[in-house]
Amino acid sequence: MSSSVFSVLSKFVAEYRRSTPAKLKVVDAYLLYILLTGALQFFYCVLVGTFPFNSFLSGFISCVGAFVLGVCLRIQINPQNKSEFLSLSPERAFADFLFAHAILHLVVVNFIG
């Protein structure tokens, strides 16, 4: 059973390495970073309690928001999805990404206290 899981995983990783364009791999690395940061923050909160709660929330929401925006960017610049985003160029996607992040940062910094 475990061997089949392992073999599926290794196959998946190999396929990923082969067929994903470099640009998307860059974005994926960024997403992994965001994920780890958010997970570590949550782990800290579980360990020592929620004081100060607003700071924890703002940090965690920042990670979640950045992850979501990163996923959006990845979907939008994926050439396989081009049929769904005919009018949206990758540059436009990136510009949207930057704009949304500006607002996210504003809110996060306001709440961080």
Binding site: A22, V26, A29, Q41, Y44, L47, H105
Partner: protein, 630 residues
């Protein structure tokens, strides 16, 4: 038969329901003196002279120096000015033997002023001047001019002046139209709480209205359309102010006062009691002063009590009893009716003149008496009633010779009766207290003695039950009886006896110092909120490093993936975009440390728009490059 019964019931209801309003303000002799003193100011100009002279004459006294006043009027007179002529002529009429010089030009000037084109004030002043100088006035012309001006100047003050003017005209003239204005004006009065009736223009306007309305009504001999309650409310409004701001205000009040006390239709009556309305055996006479609003006695009136009933029992004590007049005061010996002590509601009626207004007055009269304590019996009763009681009788005001001892098996009992000294009737005053005072510790405990059904007061002290009130402190207590009431002339504080109380479980008597209540108490120190429990710094620092570590991982991955910035074109828009973006991130940090949202938004708008423009350009160039390379 039933209809007759119904008729009686309706009349009775009306009679009971008609709670007539009585004046709550009038000019007492002190107020009158103050008004006279205020009016008697030295003259500054013709107008102030007019107010002083005419005002004082309305109150029935003359100016201090009539001759000097006349000289003043003559010297200040300006014969070409209607106002000046008005003040001088009216004031000279009030002085004896003062004549204003006349000339043909003056007369022509005055007659010319009577026209539809002059203001109401001018018409009023010229007509009044002509009338007081004894010159003929064309009444009908005046009436038509007044009527026209009333429609043009539709305000309260103008109509009041019209009324005044009409009262100076011949009685043959058609004054009916102007007379109707009284009713219209009365409808414009504001009712304040059912007590005051006044114009929103103020006290002067209300007072002048009163003067003018009664002047015109007297002149045409038709009763003004004012109800009794309205007259009383007008009295309240005019006389509620007891110190006046200006001569014109004082003059208006003096004129109104003269109008209220001297007109032919309504004379408001003021009934006040001489001193407090209370009678007793020493002071059996109820004394009333019945005057008009100038505190002057009313001629040929009779005062009688229509009914007097006790407030508590509603039984009628007196009916249709007349007051006797002695030295200007109306007296009635109320104690002749042998009233019990308490409060009585009197309905007093003043009759004798058909013009009297507010002549039914309700007043509350107190009858006080003296109390005596009878049959004061003190005893110590055993709780199980096995040992017979020993009763000691004590006579007021002496003290019992022996002291009484009561311990936890015994009750201390007291019984007495309170009677009216004069009538022997039993009394139940409001305050009957029994006070026990420990001389050593200063502690005192007060109980209430209650009467039973036969009006005998009983007090029982159960030593065991009441020990908490005494803090279980045994000792000698002085027993006092306190009797008091509003209708008692001799309140009583009587040290009846000494009582020795013995309690079980005696604590060491702490000397209770009542003064301890008022020394400064210990200071309360403010307790600041405890700061929240925080994890040790080591843990937080470790986690800070841990959270920053994925960034390292990111850079490693990116390098591994071959991400680079080799495509960085040094176009101005590109540089500007990156600078702007960096500035935005820097602004976020500054916002965290220093700024507030409004400032941040301001800066963000500036930097953001720059970055947007630059970024737009840069991305467009990138897109062109991408499409070209495809």
């Amino acid at each position: 038969m039933a209809l007759r019964g119904l008729h009686c019931v309706v009349l009775l209801a009306l009679a009971l329901g008609a709670q007539a309003l009585t004046p709550s303000h009038h000019l007492s002799p002190a107020d009158l003196d103050r008004l006279k003193a205020f009016l008697n100011q030295p003259f500054t100009d013709l107008e102030s002279a007019y107010y002083s002279i005419v005002g004082l004459s309305k109150l029935g006294i003359a100016v201090s120096d009539e001759h000097a006043a006349c000289q003043f009027l003559k010297s200040q007179l300006d014969p070409s000015n209607i106002d000046s002529l008005f003040f001088a002529s009216e004031a000279s009429q009030a002085l004896s033997g003062c004549q204003i010089p006349l000339s043909n030009e003056t007369r022509d000037l005055l007659l010319a002023a009577v026209s539809e084109d002059s203001t109401m004030s001018q018409i009023h002043r010229s007509v009044s001047t002509l009338s007081s100088l004894g010159l003929p006035v064309a009444s009908q012309e005046v009436v038509s001019a007044l009527t026209t001006r009333i429609t043009k100047e539709d305000n309260v003050l103008a109509i009041i002046l019209a009324l005044q003017t009409a009262s100076r005209l011949s009685q043959q003239a058609e004054l009916g139209g102007i007379l109707e204005e009284i009713e219209d004006l009365a409808a414009r009065l504001d009712d304040l709480g059912g007590i005051y009736l006044q114009f929103e223009e103020g006290l002067e306007a209300t007072a002048h209205f009163v003067t003018a309305a009664y002047a015109l009504s007297d002149h045409v001999d038709i009763e003004p359309p004012l109800k009794e309650d309205q007259v009383v409310q007008l009295v309240n409004s005019v006389f509620s102010k007891k110190s006046w701001d200006s001569l014109s205000e004082a003059f208006s009040v003096a004129s109104a006062a003269a109008a209220f006390s001297g007109n032919r239709f309504h004379i408001p009556v003021v009934v006040t009691s001489q001193g407090p309305a209370a009678v007793s055996h020493r002071q059996p006479m109820l004394q009333l002063q019945v005057t008009d609003i100038l505190s002057q006695p009313l001629p040929s009136i009779s005062v009688q009590v229509e009914s007097a009933h006790a407030v508590a029992s509603k039984s009628v004590v007196l009916s249709q009893a007349p007051f006797t007049l002695r030295d200007g005061i109306f007296e009635l010996n109320f104690m002749d009716s042998q009233p019990a002590s308490g409060y009585y509601q009197f309905a007093v009626a003043v009759t004798g003149d058909s013009r009297l207004v507010a002549n039914h007055v309700e007043m509350k009269v107190k009858v006080s008496t003296e109390v005596a304590i009878n049959n004061m019996d003190l005893s110590v009763v055993d709780k199980d009633q096995s040992i017979g009681t020993k009763t000691t009788r004590v006579e007021y005001p002496s003290k019992a010779k022996t002291s009484f001892t009561a311990d936890s098996h015994q009750n201390f009992a007291m019984s007495f009766q309170l009677v009216d000294v004069n009538t022997g009737v039993e009394l139940t005053p409001h305050q009957t207290f029994v006070r026990l005072h420990n001389q050593k510790t200063g502690q005192e405990v007060v109980f209430v003695a209650e009467p039973d059904s036969k009006n005998v007061y009983k007090f029982e002290l159960d030593t065991a039950e009441r020990k908490s009130e005494f803090d279980s402190i045994s000792g000698t207590y002085a027993l006092y009886l306190i009797v008091g009431d509003a209708t008692l002339e001799n309140p009583i504080l009587w040290n009846v006896a000494d009582v020795v109380l013995k309690f079980l479980d005696e604590e060491i008597p702490s000397v209770i110092q009542p003064k301890n209540l008022y020394v400064p108490k210990p200071e309360i120190k403010h307790l600041f909120r405890d700061p929240e429990k925080k994890p040790p710094t080591v843990v937080s620092n470790t986690f800070t490093a841990l959270v920053l570590s994925p960034l390292l991982l990111l850079f490693i991955l990116w390098i591994k993936l071959g991400a680079n910035i080799s495509n960085f074109s040094f176009t101005p828009s590109c540089i500007l975009f990156h600078l702007g973006h960096a500035a935005m991130l820097g602004l976020m940090y500054v916002y965290w440390t220093q700024l507030n949202m409004f400032q941040t938004l301001k800066y963000l708008a500036i930097i953001g728009s720059l970055t947007f423009l630059a970024g737009n350009r840069m991305l467009a160039q990138k897109a062109v490059k991408r499409l070209a390379s495809k």
